[in-house]
């Protein structure tokens, strides 16, 4: 329990001179109410990567995610984000699980996306021209501009996910973090979302961190995996950590 394993391919990537470090985790312990859930995590992630946090239900994926986002204070250890090789936390565009957002709010798609522009401008009754432009550009990026006046709660699962990605993009992020992004979405919408993430990752050089419990839902764009299980996190390439033998080993252990 509580071990961290970084396999060879992950270590090789650290030596990649073209890519700088995005995230460094040292001896991290995360948990709630003094009960550790994830222990002794140490790893390094390179910039521009698309990584997937995988693991069965209740193993600590959300705990790790909240720790990375700064929503859960570490019990021990350190999480250091880097931006342009400096230890500065870059802007993170967070895409929560869409079911977690209350449909009672009669927000339009446009209003949801506008929220991404509120940072540094929350104490003003007005929406500036640049905020409007940023929101519209983000909507265009995810092909939702035509539906901008539609109620967010009336959108389909795929449309809601696109809206939330647009909102994350409106924060002008260096990293996109998506929690259970395929949950409740049909296969064709999943495919479109994967294409969108590939576009954002490759063309805009936005690093992507996905969280999912569904091994089959890991899109082709993912290059590295963080397996969360039994209180530990294993970091490796897709080829190694998504092999059938490895998956059997993980689920056999549960």
């Amino acid at each position: 329990m509580g071990t961290v394993k970084e396999n060879d391919s992950a270590k090789e990537k650290k030596g990649d001179k073209n890519k700088s470090v995005l995230l460094k985790i040292d001896d991290l312990v995360l948990g709630y109410h003094d009960i550790p859930i994830l222990k002794n995590i140490s790893l390094e992630i390179q910039e521009g990567v698309c990584i997937c946090i995988l693991g069965p239900n209740g193993t600590g994926k959300t705990t790790l995610l909240k720790g990375l986002l700064g929503l859960n204070v570490p019990m021990r250890g350190k999480i250091t984000w880097y931006c342009d090789n400096k230890p500065v936390k870059p802007q993170i565009g967070y895409v929560p699980q869409k079911e977690y957002l209350d449909p009672a709010y009669p927000l339009t798609v446009y209003e949801v996306v506008l929220m991404g522009t509120y940072r540094g401008n929350a104490l003003s009754p007005f929406i500036s021209h640049s905020q409007k432009e940023t929101a519209l550009k983000a909507l265009e990026e995810v092909s939702m501009k035509d539906l901008s006046s539609m109620l967010f709660s009336k959108c389909s699962g795929g449309q809601r996910q696109r809206t939330l990605i647009a909102r994350a993009l409106a924060t002008k992020p260096k990293i996109l973090v998506l929690d259970e992004f395929t949950m409740g979405i049909d296969i064709s919408a999943q495919k479109q979302l994967t294409e969108l993430l590939t576009h954002l990752n490759e063309k805009h050089n936005i690093s992507v961190i996905l969280v999912t419990q569904d091994v089959k839902a890991v899109p082709g764009i993912v290059k590295e995996v963080l397996w969360v299980h039994g209180g530990s996190v294993e970091h490796g390439s897709v080829e190694e950590l998504l092999s059938e033998e490895y998956i059997d080993k993980i689920y056999g252990r549960e």
Binding site: P96, Y105, L107
Partner: protein, 302 residues
Amino acid sequence: MEIIIELLLEFKWAVMASVLMGCVLPVFGVYFIMKRMVLMGVALPHVASAGIALAMLIAQRVRLLTLQPGQTPFLNEESLVLLAPIGSFIAIMIVLGIFTVCENRGNSFTEARWGTTYITATALMVILLVMNPYAESHVATMLEGRVITVTSGQLLALFIMGTVVVVIFAISNKGILLTSFDPDMAKSMGFKIINWNITHYLMFGIIISICVMILGPMFVFGYLLLPAFAVRPWIAGMRRFFICSAIVGGISAFIGVVLSLWFNWPLGPTEVLAASVVLIISRIAHLAFRGLNRKRTIVAGS
């Protein structure tokens, strides 16, 4: 008709106060509905009432202890007018402070806590009134809220406080909206949830404490809830939601005033009833509208 116009002019301060707060309260009521805090809307006016009753009791006890021969034991009007908002505001702030801490610590059972607050405040208010026979009738009138007796001074107080709170609300609304709709996203963007909750609750506290004292808990709760609830099914967009709730609240209050003068019914309850009727009409019309739309879709499909 002429009689109604005459009466409207005679009770112009009451009419203006009703319409003004009929517009202001629903703006705050929007969040009561969205954040599922309706019980808080019931509880806070009663907390304010208990605070008024407690302030009166303390002042009365002090008055009796320092009473000189030949002096009347009753508190004068000025003291009562000064003590009521102080008692009401302090009580609301204490309760909201405790709840903000609980919310920040992630304690659950929010509804049960507000229910407990409501019933405790109501019981306390009755006991405090009984303990204060010198001020009982005066305090009881104040707690009921006599909209019809609103003076120009009270209207001015409502106008100033209402304007201040609405301006603060307009300035801070973006942060309040983000932190209540998606707190995790807000935190990841660097928003401090507790600060926004405090700002939000402070505005509730100010507006409710002053309104309860002048207009009564029934009017306050009625206009926090009913207009926003009537508007909700028709609305797409938060800005429209706030504006339409305010308009519907103002119109409902005015209809209530006219009905009250026409039938000689008590003003506060008639205004609340008018808002309830508007809500019922809105819901029925929405059901009919949806039915019609469904029918059209089926016809178009076939």
